[in-house]
């Protein structure tokens, strides 16, 4: 069994957790022990705190969900600043953290009564339909809004040192995951002046939690663990002097030829010649009863908690979705000494690679295909789940309900591209289910309808890291060729890179992606 102390994994077969100095943080006034290098949310989680906020209107308890700053379930007031995503802020000695929704705190919220009692009289949503008189309706809505909370404005003025910087570069890469790093490396190696931004304090994106060995061929670094691939890419990147890496930097908008970003307390005005957007994707959730209960997490969120911060997510998890993420997570949970109650899949067959499924099945984890989760059980946190079999029309078959014992549920039902920047930049978008949602139209070199704006990785269509690395290479090389750099060599490499990805997607798993991409090739590219 894996040694656990204070909610933290003390050992792991693959990972070696290096925790910093012990610090004390205060949560609603209560002292909590944490270690430097942990985020506030993960330290709170390790201390057993599960309710991070309350829903705005009905004050239902909300917990941790995505752990990578995409959802807003963990927003709290940190050192007087409201609406801070605590999964992105690192602990510091003496830090004061307060929940901002609920009274007196999110954990013990007296307004929670509105979910239990008022709901019987005014069912959720009825405030919009119950009152015919507009005046009464407006009054009720305004009172209801007062009961919600979005935090209070900071009490004191900003004390930091705000500054401003203007940066000119050839290629701006937004996102330092596998696609972004690959784009920066490939543009940088041909001599382009590259600026790489990432909102995290580390490079690697979601690779940092991938403890499994990657698939693909040796030239795609197959057989190497994701965590190591992140390191290899970073080393390669750091060797190129003309690549400027800015961490903890968020790009907030593309305005014609200029990009706005914030690096800690500094405002950046970036004037790039070409832009590669590699912002990745975020986790989807699933509709079922009680799906907002603390204990229902995104699969990636659990991976972050467990593999990045070394915190045990629970004792027994239920996995919803049998794509590669769900299957790999199940195996990772077992490695961390966490039991897996079952894997539930609505499709009639396993969605991910068979070998990943076989790996957990042979350790006794049941896989239920054609099953779905009906509801999560529990009052303030997950205490179990009910699943049921589905018929041909995807309807639950009465009488097949099964109660499963679990203390957390991981939703692994796929990802959606983080497309907001592209949408804001004016790229033509299209909803393509094969690619995970709203994606920009693109040329075969990943250039969007806005000239000079490229896409790479999951934001172009949810696939996986190896393909992301390849697509970053294509986008970057095309961008520098357009800038007149690289000469014949770059042109040759570009064609090679295209062939490479085509080969990679030739199997049945690539078919779906290829089919999706065909739907969003720019009209100007379609041969008549």
């Amino acid at each position: 069994m894996v040694q656990v102390k204070d909610g933290r994994l003390m050992e792991h077969p693959i990972l070696n957790f290096r925790r910093g100095k012990e610090v004390t943080i205060y949560f609603n006034g209560k002292q909590i022990k944490a270690y430097e290098g942990e985020t506030v949310a993960s330290a709170l989680y390790a201390a057993g705190i599960r309710v991070f906020s309350r829903s705005f209107r009905w004050h239902r308890p909300r917990g941790f969900f995505c752990a990578i700053g995409k959802c807003s379930a963990c927003m709290m007031e940190v050192d007087g600043v409201p609406n801070v995503r605590t999964c992105k802020v690192y602990v510091r000695d003496g830090m004061q953290i307060r929940t901002q929704t609920g009274f007196p705190s999110a954990e013990r919220d007296i307004f929670a009564i509105s979910d239990k009692i008022i709901d019987r009289i005014f069912p959720h949503g009825s405030q919009y339909t119950k009152f015919n008189n507009k005046l009464i309706r407006d009054f009720v809505l305004s009172q209801l809004r007062k009961m919600t909370g979005f935090g209070n404005p900071p009490k004191k003025e900003f004390q930091g040192n705000a500054s401003y910087e203007e940066i000119h570069c050839d290629v701006l890469v937004i996102g330092g995951g596998p696609a972004g790093m690959s784009a920066a490396i490939n543009a940088g190696k041909y001599g382009a002046k590259v600026l790489l931004l990432d909102e995290n304090p580390f490079l690697g994106g979601q690779l940092v939690k991938q403890t499994h060995r990657f698939f693909g061929s040796a030239k795609h670094k197959a057989g190497t663990r994701g965590i190591k691939i992140a390191k290899i890419l970073e080393e390669e990147l750091r060797k190129i002097p003309n690549v400027d890496v800015r961490l903890e930097t968020k790009a907030f908008g593309i305005y014609g030829r200029e990009v706005g970003a914030v690096e800690k307390d500094k405002l950046l005005r970036i004037i790039p010649k070409k832009i590669v957007v590699a912002t990745g994707a975020y986790e989807r959730t699933l509709i079922f009863e009680n799906n907002d209960l603390p204990g229902v997490y995104g699969a990636g969120g659990v991976q972050t908690l467990m593999n990045v911060y070394g915190i045990k997510p629970g004792n027994r998890g239920l996995i919803v979705g049998s794509g590669n993420v769900g299957l790999i997570l199940s195996y990772q949970l077992l490695q961390a000494g966490v039991e897996v109650s079952a894997i539930v899949e609505a499709m009639p067959r396993i969605g991910g690679y068979f070998v990943h499924a076989a790996k957990v099945r042979r350790l006794g984890v049941p896989i239920y295909v054609r099953h779905t989760i009906l509801r999560a059980l529990g009052k303030d946190r997950v205490e179990g789940a009910v699943i049921a079999q589905l018929d041909e029309k995807w309807k639950p078959i009465p009488g097949t309900e099964k109660k499963l014992d679990c203390d957390f549920i991981c939703v692994a039902v796929g990802l959606s591209p983080t497309h907001e920047l592209l949408y804001q930049a004016g790229c033509k978008m299209k909803f393509v289910p094969e690619l995970g949602g709203l994606v920009p139209l693109r040329s075969k070199y990943n250039e969007t309808s806005v000239k000079g704006v490229y896409i790479a990785g999951d934001v172009a269509g949810v696939e996986e890291a190896t393909a992301a690395i390849m697509s970053g290479r294509i986008a970057a090389i095309h961008a520098i060729v357009e800038l007149g750099m690289g000469g014949e060599e770059a042109k040759k490499e570009l064609e090679e890179a295209l062939k490479d990805i085509e080969e990679f997607r030739a199997g049945p798993f690539g078919e779906r992606i290829v089919c999706g991409i065909e739907k969003c090739i720019l009209a100007s590219e379609v041969e008549l």
């Binding site: 069994m1 894996v2 050992e11 792991h12 077969p13 693959i14 499994h212 060995r213 990657f214 698939f215 693909g216 061929s217 040796a218 197959a222 057989g223 190497t224 663990r225 190591k228 077992l334 490695q335 000494g337 894997i343 009639p348 067959r349 396993i350 690679y353 068979f354 070998v355 990943h356 499924a357 076989a358 790996k359 957990v360 099945r361 042979r362 350790l363 006794g364 984890v365 896989i367 295909v369 190896t466 080969e503 990679f504 997607r505 030739a506 199997g507 049945p508 798993f509 690539g510």
Partner: protein, 161 residues
Amino acid sequence: MSYLERGYAEINELPPFPSEERMKKKSVAYVECPQPIPCSPCYESCPADAIKMDNINDPPIVDYEKCTGCMNCIRVCPGLAIFMLRLREDGKGEVTLQYEFLPWLKKGDKVELLNRKGEVVGTGIVNWVLPPERNDQTSLVRVEMDAKLIYEVRAVRKVRE
């Protein structure tokens, strides 16, 4: 029902086993990777050219006569889908498999033998280990068992004393 509905493969969905004579001579790689996926480290790592794969998406096919039992493929397989099978002179059988759990197994450890469905089918003794630090944290363990069990044992679990 196919392997993708069950999560484990039945014998008829897997490649034929090496002959008994072959497994008596030397240990041989047996690959349980029936699905076409873009993956080829086993093919690339084989020094004997014993693994056939025309396209990266093809499932690997092992030429049991060419396989030298060098274990390069089992060291790198990201799917944990390769097993080395051997029948010994003394009537015992041996399965070598990848192992990534704590506590790490050591020579002489008694283990429960699990089949593809995760059912316990017997017990065995670990008689050789490639420690995790020598193979990027994936340990290889060779387990001694009843000869007839080598066709179904695909995982082991340490017996708690």
